[in-house]
């Protein structure tokens, strides 16, 4: 073996990111030793753990020193001697140097103190390092890894390989140790491993062994990118699929041994190597690519059909693909299906149309089918003389998260507002100064009979008012000033009465967002006012009639205008009229009481249903000249009990029967059926008459307070009977159904849930 007899080749483990570049530089002068650098303590430790024997020296940054100490120096022994037995189960002596106080990290020069320390430790390897480092300190000198004694042609094989990160630490170690052990006639004289996963290896040997090694191990290994063999006389360059190979020779007169004495910087190999490394350094060891290869964004160039012509390493690393898997393929393949559609329907049409797109959000397909959010800018240009597209992606994971968050929060606010305004019976319409509709709720959409979504497509607020005006018989007068209120009557198809007022919405920064029109539907309010007014008229009439007769007769009595024999009948009239009056006032009070006391004061008990019905009917005084209620049942209800307030129960039934008689002034039967409705598990009492019936439009109003079917006033009553009955039934766990056909009669079902 023609070389390296005097100095043992060391493999040095370096754990420090910041010094890597320096290391690459300085390692030139370390020539002949393997340096394995890690920027991650855990990876370094794992590598070490996997095969501690291959590392001769470990150099560690001070910031890791505590960890290293605790792991490697369990007894806090700084003796640079490690008992790894406790940790890895092997005994090993690997010296550690710790950067920091003792080593100038920028110059990578040991202090005198450290050098002495190291020398004193008397480790051969450390001595060697110390010596080297001292030599490095002197400019223009380098250390050769070559034995002076052995002369002969020496070739150096220098190659760079990529993506150590793709390899496990074990793979890495096997590469390093394998190359060293399996080639007796060659020697690894330098290995630089860059933290981003690229390493550079220098192997020396004679021509035959170098060539053999090259073809047997390196040429076919696609991980290796750029291979150079140095030797005199070879200016040959051969094309290899992934990398370039060149032979560079030393001068014929220069013996191998001279290499070691020659100023490295002046030696042609050294110069080449330096230049080469500088280049590598500059390109992050990504070789052969343009300057955009080391820009912190993803870059690719496609032809006008989207076929990828060129791609930078950032992109390859991110998506975890080989260059060959990407170049020559369609850009579509970088995207998941949704992205492809978006690309085809939006991006390409825009690119064809205007030649560029900006700030498009897309997702790339990453390793293991993950999605990587990116922002795309793309423009048309010329690449190598051909019309092409330049695509630049910036990874936007954080921004994406943030935007999704914003979107979500906006959706939440939107749903909240929508729900709140949806349940409001009133309308809200926000129109800005440009007449744009900014907000509207469902009620507004219903006003012009369209969907809420379609409402937003109305081109302006004016458009809305125009639509609204179609429902009004008069011109609409729209509020123009803040606080102004207008009254609208719309026919759609029922009459709707609205009060519309306007307010401004001012944002916290003082800007006016727009004018909010607030629509208050007063149709019901008006209706109830009308019913109340009607009642007052009616009630005063009803109250006045008996009062007038009481007043008239008592006046006649007082003035002795009634003969003695007529007096009893007159007193009886007064008595009857006042009884009627009391009953009427009682009804009013009753309703009020039921409403305000919410059913409190009901005295509920179990009663036999049949007996209850009989008692109720017996207590009802059938009007003169009318037949009694016809009672029938088709089921045997003996023993069935009902849990009710007896008095209230009777009040309900009496009110309905009373109506049945009153509203059949021309006679006819009043019938009462009882039954159990098994489907709804309820006891039902059905009361029918053959009287006037109720118009269909009046049926929904039948239980309204003071509502009276009879508008003529011929039939006595104040319109509270059914209202009270319904209120009572609510508290008796039941309900009342009302059906009617005009001029045929009515049917009321009183239902008690069991």
């Amino acid at each position: 073996m023609p070389m390296n007899q005097s100095i043992r080749c060391l493999t040095i483990l370096v754990i420090d990111e910041s010094l890597v570049i320096d290391l690459v530089n300085k390692s030139l002068t370390y020539f002949g030793h393997s340096v394995v650098a890690f920027n991650n303590i855990n990876n370094a430790l794992n590598a070490f753990k996997a095969n501690p024997l291959i590392f001769d020296v470990v150099i560690v940054d001070q910031k890791y020193s505590e960890i290293v100490k605790s792991l490697f120096y369990p007894n806090d022994d700084l003796d640079a001697r490690i008992l790894l037995k406790n940790i890895f189960g092997v005994i090993h002596e690997t010296p550690f140097l710790i950067w920091g106080d003792t080593i100038d990290s920028t110059e990578l020069i040991f202090s005198q103190e450290t050098a002495i320390y190291l020398l004193n430790k008397n480790y051969n390897a450390l001595k060697t390092i110390g010596n080297w480092l001292n030599v490095i300190a002197q400019e223009n000198h380098s250390i050769s890894a070559v034995d002076k004694e052995n002369e002969g042609e020496v070739y150096q094989l220098i190659y760079a390989s990529k993506a150590i990160e793709d390899l496990s630490e074990n793979d890495l170690i096997s590469i390093l140790t394998g190359a060293r052990q399996s080639n007796q006639s060659t020697h690894i004289t330098g290995t630089l491993i860059y933290h981003r996963g690229f390493f550079l290896q220098i192997i020396e040997g004679d021509k035959a062994s170098i060539t053999a090694l090259f073809y047997s191990q390196i040429a076919n290994d696609r991980r290796h990118y750029n291979v150079t063999i140095f030797h005199e006389g070879y200016a040959l360059k051969r094309e290899f699929p992934n990398w370039q190979m060149g032979f560079y020779g030393t001068s014929g007169n220069e013996s191998y041994s001279l290499l070691g004495l020659t100023d490295f910087k002046k030696h042609p190999a050294g110069q080449f190597f330096r230049r080469y490394l500088t280049q590598i350094q500059k390109h992050f060891l990504h070789f052969e690519l343009d300057d955009f290869d080391y820009l912190p964004c993803l870059i690719l160039i496609t032809d006008k059909n989207g076929i990828i012509l060129k791609v930078n390493s950032e992109l390859l690393i991110l998506i975890g693909k080989e260059r060959d898997d990407v170049e020559g393929k369609s850009i579509n393949e970088l995207f998941p299906p949704a992205g492809r559609i978006f690309l085809q329907t939006y991006v390409w049409t825009m690119l064809c149309h205007q030649g560029n797109v900006n700030e498009i959000h897309l997702k790339l397909t990453g390793q293991h089918n993950t999605r990587i959010p990116v922002i795309l800018n793309c423009k048309r240009g010329v690449f190598e003389g051909v019309e092409s597209y330049f695509w630049v992606f910036v990874v936007s994971v954080e921004r994406d998260k943030f935007e999704v968050e914003i979107l979500e929060s906006q959706r939440r606010t939107e749903s909240l507002l929508k729900t709140i305004f949806h349940i409001s019976p009133n309308g809200y319409l926000l129109i800005d100064d440009n007449q744009r509709i900014l907000f509207a709720n469902d009620m507004i959409a219903q006003l012009i009979e369209c969907s809420l979504e379609d409402l937003y497509f109305l081109s302006s607020g004016d458009e809305f008012w125009k639509h609204l005006a179609c429902y009004s018989q008069k011109d609409l007068s729209i509020p123009q000033k803040i606080g102004e209120t207008r009254y609208f009557e719309l026919l759609k198809p029922r009459l709707i009465k609205l009060v519309c007022s306007m307010q401004s919405i001012v944002l916290s920064n003082g800007k006016v967002l727009g004018n909010l029109f607030y629509f208050n539907d007063i149709t019901k309010e008006e209706e109830s006012n009308r019913i109340k007014a009607e009642f007052l008229t009616h009630a005063s009439h009803e109250l006045r009639t008996p009062l007038a007769s009481i007043h008239g007769y008592s006046e006649l009595l007082e003035h002795g205008m009634i003969s003695i024999e007529s007096q009893p009948s007159v007193v009886h009239i007064i008595y009857e009229q006042s009884t009627w009056l009391i009953a009427m006032v009682d009804e009013l009070l009753d309703l009020h009481r039921i409403e305000t006391r919410s059913g409190h004061g009901f005295e509920k008990n179990n009663y036999f249903f049949n007996e209850l019905i009989h008692e109720t009917l017996a207590e009802f005084s059938v009007p003169k000249e009318r037949q009694a209620v016809i009672l029938s049942t088709f089921q045997d209800l003996t023993g069935i009990e009902l849990y009710v307030d007896k008095i209230k129960f009777k009040q309900v039934i009496h009110a309905i029967i009373d109506n049945a008689y009153k509203y059949s002034p021309n006679g006819g039967n009043v019938s009462l059926y009882t039954r159990i409705n098994t489907a709804s598990n309820a006891l039902e009492i059905e009361i029918t008459d053959e009287g006037l019936g109720v118009a269909e439009s009046d049926i929904p109003l039948i239980f309204e307070r003071f509502f009276r079917v009879d508008k003529s006033g011929n039939i006595p009553g104040i319109g509270l009977g059914l209202t009270i009955a319904k209120e009572i039934m609510f508290f008796l766990n039941g309900e009342i159904d009302f059906n009617s056909i005009p001029n045929q009669g009515s049917r009321v079902v009183v239902r008690f849930y069991l």
Binding site: P336, P337, A338, I341, T345, Y346, H353, H361, L407, D454
Partner: protein, 268 residues
């Protein structure tokens, strides 16, 4: 009414001739996409271009979510335009992508206007319906697409309230938007996307008897060749031409190929 439709769909007429070419743009675009094709036919054909309601320079206020949630709504736009222009049976309908389905639906609803069809990058159904039909996309893919659209509109769409820029035509906002996307409105685009990508018009295609020229690209991820072959089989009276090119918009990227194929077909 007829003037309303002309304005509503931004109908533009150019060229002169007895035969009529009616161009219908695809999803996410406007009639501007045809501007590399139309100059070639100005001398020989009367050419009608339009934007679907909600796209391009159409009248946004005519948009209705209900109507445009299915392709029938867009087909109705086509029929309205034919009606308004009082066209007879001499129309060659030139559609891109989803507009091919729209055109065929329109011809089934109202056959009298249409003479023949030129279908560029058509697909009767984008969704996979295993085992018989593979449209190319899963339902989840299309849901992802809607999310992507949402995100791309975030920059300018106001999501704080369900607010949409109902700006009058040619206003400041729609002017800005034309620089970002051909379509003017996020909600419109979403409605159109749903109508386009969730549609299954295979049954309609099988009922079409009028002559059709199917132009498919060899590398189109949206409408691959197998879809072209499927349509060729379904459309009884069709002719299939495959361009050896990539992408979904042959009429924009390779207008010369499309023009040549169209010329051969319309002069047959």
């Amino acid at each position: 009414m007829s003037m309303d439709v002309i304005k509503r769909n931004n109908v533009c007429i150019q060229g002169d001739g007895d035969s009529i070419l009616l161009y219908a743009h695809g999803f996410g675009c406007s009639q501007a996409m045809w501007n590399r094709i139309t100059p070639e036919f100005n001398a020989s054909h009367k050419q009608i271009l339009f934007d679907y309601v909600g796209s391009g320079q159409s009248d946004l206020s005519a948009f209705s979510v209900n109507r445009y949630s299915s392709l029938e709504g867009y087909a109705q736009d086509v029929i309205d335009i034919c009606d308004a222009l009082n066209l007879q049976e001499n129309v060659t309908f030139v559609g891109h992508s989803v507009s091919c389905s729209i055109g065929l639906i329109a011809s089934l609803l109202c056959p009298r206007f249409f003479n023949q069809f030129i279908l560029i990058g058509a697909s009767p159904c984008f969704i996979n319906v295993p085992p018989d039909y593979m449209g190319g996309f899963e339902r989840e893919d299309l849901i992802d697409l809607l999310a992507l659209m949402d995100q791309n509109y975030l920059g300018w769409a106001n999501y704080l309230a369900p607010i949409v820029a109902g700006e009058p035509q040619g206003g400041a906002i729609s002017g800005e938007l034309s620089n970002s996307f051909c379509s003017t409105d996020p909600l419109v685009a979403k409605v159109f996307a749903k109508a386009t990508f969730f549609a299954d018009n295979r049954e309609e295609f099988s009922r079409v008897l009028k002559p059709c020229l199917i132009l498919q690209n060899s590398h189109d991820s949206l409408a691959p060749v197998r879809i072209g072959e499927y349509m060729h089989q379904q459309l009884k009276n069709s002719q299939l031409t495959i361009f050896d090119i990539a992408g979904h918009c042959a009429h924009m990227t390779h207008p010369e190929l499309v023009i040549e194929a169209m010329k051969n077909y319309v002069t047959l």
